[in-house]
Symmetry: D2
Subunit: 289 residues, 4 copies
Amino acid sequence: MKKRMVFGVVGGDIRQGKLAELLAGDGHKVHMFGLEKLQDLPNLPQAENLKEALKADCVILPLPVREDNGLNMPFSTQQCSLDELVKTLQPGQIVCAGMVPPYLALAAGEKGVKLYDYFAREELAVATAVPTAEGAIQLAMEELPVTISGARVLIIGYGRLGRTLAPRLAALGADLSVAARKYSDLAWIEASGWKPEHTEKLDEKLGRFDLIINTAPARVLNEKQLLELNKDCLCIDLASRPGGVDFETAAQLGVKVIWALSLPGKVAPVTAGKAIRDTIYNILQELGV
Amino acid sequence: MKKRMVFGVVGGDIRQGKLAELLAGDGHKVHMFGLEKLQDLPNLPQAENLKEALKADCVILPLPVREDNGLNMPFSTQQCSLDELVKTLQPGQIVCAGMVPPYLALAAGEKGVKLYDYFAREELAVATAVPTAEGAIQLAMEELPVTISGARVLIIGYGRLGRTLAPRLAALGADLSVAARKYSDLAWIEASGWKPEHTEKLDEKLGRFDLIINTAPARVLNEKQLLELNKDCLCIDLASRPGGVDFETAAQLGVKVIWALSLPGKVAPVTAGKAIRDTIYNILQELGV
Amino acid sequence: MKKRMVFGVVGGDIRQGKLAELLAGDGHKVHMFGLEKLQDLPNLPQAENLKEALKADCVILPLPVREDNGLNMPFSTQQCSLDELVKTLQPGQIVCAGMVPPYLALAAGEKGVKLYDYFAREELAVATAVPTAEGAIQLAMEELPVTISGARVLIIGYGRLGRTLAPRLAALGADLSVAARKYSDLAWIEASGWKPEHTEKLDEKLGRFDLIINTAPARVLNEKQLLELNKDCLCIDLASRPGGVDFETAAQLGVKVIWALSLPGKVAPVTAGKAIRDTIYNILQELGV
Amino acid sequence: MKKRMVFGVVGGDIRQGKLAELLAGDGHKVHMFGLEKLQDLPNLPQAENLKEALKADCVILPLPVREDNGLNMPFSTQQCSLDELVKTLQPGQIVCAGMVPPYLALAAGEKGVKLYDYFAREELAVATAVPTAEGAIQLAMEELPVTISGARVLIIGYGRLGRTLAPRLAALGADLSVAARKYSDLAWIEASGWKPEHTEKLDEKLGRFDLIINTAPARVLNEKQLLELNKDCLCIDLASRPGGVDFETAAQLGVKVIWALSLPGKVAPVTAGKAIRDTIYNILQELGV
């Protein structure tokens, strides 16, 4: 990767601001566009218009790149359609964006733009698991009238999030069970010293817990399961839409559920910006830029 | 200890309510007094007056027992002076209270009341360190724009609180330094795999940290030290009055300081109530009751 | 899975003996064959000959199933060719074996025997990583004149073994670096609080370490790398044949290398036998037996 | 402490050799005496006789300083009585020694020698707990046919050694119980997430464990207790003379007991030497040398 590149950072939220600052701190030339209403706006050049903004070795678009039908620019007075964006990009230009919709991928491909989705990269997903896990622990600490130390905690799912949460909760002193479906995941859970549970045989055991954190992308807590819960049990659902809990029934039953989405940007925007920067550097490294 | 005792739980806050509930859950006979305005008031008998309230094998007074010059009863419409309290107690009666002032100890002694200060017991101090540590971690997670994972953290002091905080922060991925004065504490810190620092040689190193948690009962961060801090550094002061930070100067310099007192009752009242119960059981056990 | 099955445990080493004992302890009917010279032979029925041995709901053959061209039976005075074995098995019979060679798989298939390779199952590989990791730690403790606490340790590779070793060494106080090639593995390593290193950029950093444990199935330490090592550095190679170190050059250079193979059976045969039992139960469960 | 001092390192074992090497590596002038038969003898000047050896700003005598009635010099062909030693020392000279007997302290005091017992210092005891703990873990790994991961382990005593062992065994995956007598220690054990046990109420629970490590300086395992043990249970006794186990009865009952003394010098002499050096530096620092 070249020592000194020109980056155009366009749209997004505080994470994009922090990202711009970090890139500049690494010695790159950075200009921004579409972030002018951001509190703590970095002291970096602002492009006058989209065309100027896109004059860069590498353009960085936000995560997610699209909001409604335009570019995701909540901290700007301006708007920009995806069509306008693609029209203004140059063939051969390197563009990094998060959660690229098929329409944009197609249009960029036709134009010859080199568009990379940093959100699709495994290392970003891993790095994002840490602020998500910390956000979930913060929520649990805020809401529970007991300490994590000594609390009976169940994590459902042993993917990236489960693997990041489990050692942290255990180290805080939780009496930890982790539910998974695959025998190999159950072997990992046991090898780590936690209590393994088959996700499909959970039902009658759900009453034991003070805190349940769902990380599985599936509806795991339906009425049947919710009825089993101890009345003071807190549920934190980290599954993306449509979520892992039957929220309506939970509300009727008086079960306390928090559906926590997009934690990284909320609880640790600087860390989230840093993770995006590292991923973009990896993309550029692989491109041999 | 007898299987079934009569406890009178008098005054205090939500911790006393939880304590009453726990005692009843263990099979004891419990009545309360001076907690009637408590939200989530346990469904237990209320004594009609102080005299009825004190008819018990063991009377449990709040932590702290005194507020201004009377009994600490913020969730009651009633008031009660310490003199009236002592007058109503019986010679030979067992009374447990938190932070007993010398005047009360003396008056109780003259009357022949067996008064024990549960707050003076080491096991309660240890058990209380856990909710304090979790409260501090929660505050750090709420306030910092970065994750604990990867943050450069300094704990000042290696007493009970330092020892409780350090393994938790390290397990959350902090790059951890711990400052102490005693060589043996420094040896413990090193043996635990953290970076030891002499408290007296900290000054020029203070600029390295993202988070500083003071647990030492001493004014450790004066103007000279505050000037060294990195501008985004968060300070959490857990020292009791008068505190470990020159708050006025910190405010002038724009250093973010949180003086966090009485965390256990705030962040984990159930755990705090449980710790008081366990300590009272230990007292009764030692008395051979 | 049925409560009470008949198992025939044939050949192998102490792990097979422990496995037979565990199965019997779970209430199953178990007989053994080809283990008669084992020290601590379980007090269970011995089959008189191969034919009797194979009369079972489930036959368990050793890990590895083949030694030279016959069945692996080092603790027996008898011998048995794979042909004879297949001839004696019944069509439809369930047989579990470890490291099944293609020839045996084919012959069993033709005969209609239901042959399952438990060694190919991910959960066994995971469960086996724990005794391997403990064996490697034991070797390091035996050989190093310093404690793991404070030692500068490098793990090469972040597969199952690397993931099992890393948290253990870190918890013992090692100053831990982990080398991997994939960006997502590097992200995991960083998220866990250890120092990430690119395997391809290790060379000039190798001189820093007191202990290097190779878990990668590749020749990672050649002459060039060995020349960089600190003279007191210990290398433990956990890679299976042909190994990850140029052993000849290492010997010439005076580098201390231990090539540690088959640790589970050596350091924790009971744990190894238990892991095989659990895996066989999973196979039977999936078969709906 | 002065940048460059003259140290005379006299007698002792491999730890003294390593200590001499470390002092020289820090830039000090070092000569040795009474270590000439040591394998891996450091390449440092050898004093010709005791008188030359003691010409130093600081003389370092071994741990323990006395063996039988003379100076502890197992790696020397020479011998030296304590009387001769004191006679040759100079009034006002700084001497550091380990486990100083009263006779030597008195004689040195009369002569005006500044004699310091580094073994009496808390920081050395703490630093020594780490190699002792690792040595005990190594023994357990060597002797047990199961992994530490999943083993049911009891540590008796929660002093320095118990506190060092407990987090390590827990991190290796042990199902950990810790027995202590003091309520505050039990509170620490519980706050750390392990199972607390009253030492006096252990008897009927002893049959549950796969491994028992005694760290308490008391005879805790007598016939009554030994009879309760599970037949495969391994006992490691770290108590100094007369030890915490009735060894004779254990032998009769077939209980496997390892009485492990002086582990640091055996399992990690370099670390042990380093700990002594750090302690001597602290002594000199306090003296303002």
